[in-house]
């Protein structure tokens, strides 16, 4: 039993909390990635019945079934299949898509950029607008001022935050696309085609996030340390930028991370509304058509993207906010 007289030696983790934190988080991500790999690999094998038969239909000849099985590597022992699978990932061989008969890597390489662009633009738009609107609303309604504006803000954002992006997309297609013919409603080269899909993707999240940003900003503005800053009679600019802003960084980063991860699902929906040639339409096809190779690859891609985003956000948070590294896993 250790009495307080005996000093407890400080380990590596106590001396270098940031390094320990980075290692912990990265290790966690690798673990989750492994789980994802196993899950995507196991997908085929968890399908009840014979997956190949399900894909080819009950009347397919045995030779075709065998050939497809060999293609998918299903005739080999399990651990060899997994090894092949993982090594295939490194070489870029993800199998052949049964619906298009093309290599999966080709399909993805062709469609990924359009999805990534859409999501990326939407992300930037959402972050810029929700931060501005949220912080502005907080400063405006601080201490209960302009309660009318507060009510208008809460009602409007509450309304738009509840409309799902595909409904919004349909509405935009109808009003701005069909009625007013202001913007194109399907993919075509040029910037104009991005307007409606980005709007559909962004409006909901902007509404939801600006509410959260406003609440967080108010909390910071009302904190005791802001009162201390005011007691120092610093100029307003310094009070907001130096004292308030850094404390908003943590919640903003966390939100950004969640947002980016959430855009993954939203993009799929919006692409289906606007017939966008991205991965969104491919996702659905692959599941419905039981195209295992493609579904596997898409699942892996989506999952890995979300995991990496979460890791990056965690790491930046850990560096920016010294208190978060102390918290246990």
């Amino acid at each position: 039993m250790v009495s307080l007289a005996t000093p407890v030696p400080a380990g590596f983790t106590d001396r270098h909390p940031t390094a320990a934190f980075l290692i912990r988080r990265t290790a966690r991500m690798i673990l989750l990635l492994l789980v994802l790999l196993v899950l995507s690999f196991a997908m085929i094998h968890l399908v009840p019945g014979d997956p190949v038969r399900a894909e080819l239909g009950p009347r397919a000849p045995a030779s075709a079934v065998e050939q497809r099985q060999a293609e998918l590597g299903l005739d080999q022992p399990l651990h060899e299949q997994f090894a092949d699978y993982v090594s295939g990932l490194f070489t870029g061989d993800l199998g052949i898509s049964s619906t298009s008969k093309l290599p999966v890597s080709e399909v993805i390489a062709e469609r990924l950029p359009d999805s990534a662009r859409l999501a990326g633009i939407a992300f930037v738009v959402i972050m810029l607008l929700s931060l501005t609107i949220g912080m502005g609303a907080a400063v405006l309604t601080k201490d209960g001022r302009h309660s009318g504006s507060e009510l208008a803000f809460t009602t409007t954002t509450g309304f738009f935050a509840t409309i799902p992006e595909f409904v919004l997309g349909v509405a935009l297609v109808y009003f701005l696309g069909v009625q007013l013919q202001a913007f194109p409603v399907a993919y075509e080269p040029g910037v104009a085609a991005y307007v409606l899909p980005v709007a559909a993707l962004s409006i909901g999240p902007i509404a939801a996030l600006s509410r959260i940003v406003r609440v967080e900003t108010l909390e910071v503005l009302n904190a005791d340390y802001m009162r201390t800053a005011r007691s120092k009679r610093l100029p307003a600019r310094l009070t907001y930028l130096r004292h308030a802003l850094p404390n908003l960084l943590t919640s903003t980063l966390t939100l950004g991370g969640l947002l980016l991860a959430g855009l993954v699902g939203g993009t799929v929906l919006v692409e289906n509304v606007f017939a966008w040639p991205g991965l969104g339409t491919t996702v659905v096809e692959s599941v419905v058509a039981q195209d295992y190779a493609l579904a596997q690859a898409v699942m892996l891609l989506l999952g890995a993207t979300v995991l990496v985003i979460n890791l990056v956000v965690d790491l930046i948070l850990g560096l920016v906010d010294p208190r978060s590294t102390i918290k246990e896993l």
């Binding site: 039993m1 009495s3 407890v8 400080a10 106590d14 246990e328």
Partner: protein, 265 residues
Amino acid sequence: MTAVDVERLSVQFHGRGGPVVAVDEVTLSVPPGSVVGLVGESGSGKSTLARAIVGLVPPVGGSVRIDGVDLGTLSPAARRRARRPVQMIFQDPNSSLNPRMTVGAALTEALGVRERAGRGRAVRDGEVAELLDLVTLDHRVAASYPRELSGGQRQRVAIARALAVRPDVLICDEVTSALDASVTGAILNLLRDLRRQLGLSILFISHNLAVVRYASDQIGVMHHGRIVEFGDAETVVRSPEHPYTRALLDAVPRLGGADASTAVP
């Protein structure tokens, strides 16, 4: 009459760098009918000791004996029964009462623990009224929710709840620390009256040395999980032996200004 004896009791918590010793081989006795005060600053382990005695935290060493019976040798059910004569009153009047139960419901529930409690509604209500009388609260309080009462009233309800199971020993953990000065006296007087009326022994825990000295027959001073000094209350205060006790006494703000008579070595 119940005696509480603690022998070489130790309690550990899990900290980041390994186990942290909160209570370090403490030996203490609360003789029947007496008031033992326990004073110490934050982190001294006094509250943890109290919680270990009533079974809220497990000890890693040593024993707790109630009326000579070592609790460690009993089955869990027997242990619960053996502990019943020892009740505890907590510091924070805001969280010691279930916000969703009326005072009457809480007291009735506590009364139900005793096998000899009356069955009928009228009898139970009568017993609730008796308890409220003991702590000098108006009978109408029984219909109130905790949020409708003041801090002092809530502490009295907590005391009444503890008294419902007819304890012999009351452990008071910082019961006046969250109250205004004008109300503190009333609670201390109440405890004094109850001790006389019901023959209770009390383990009185506080960081406030003046309050502990007033309320106790004997005082123990805790520092870093150990009892560094123990003795008759007046003696400990007038002729402290341990340097920490002297430092503590020196630090107590005095009416009329600080004097440098008790220097810290």
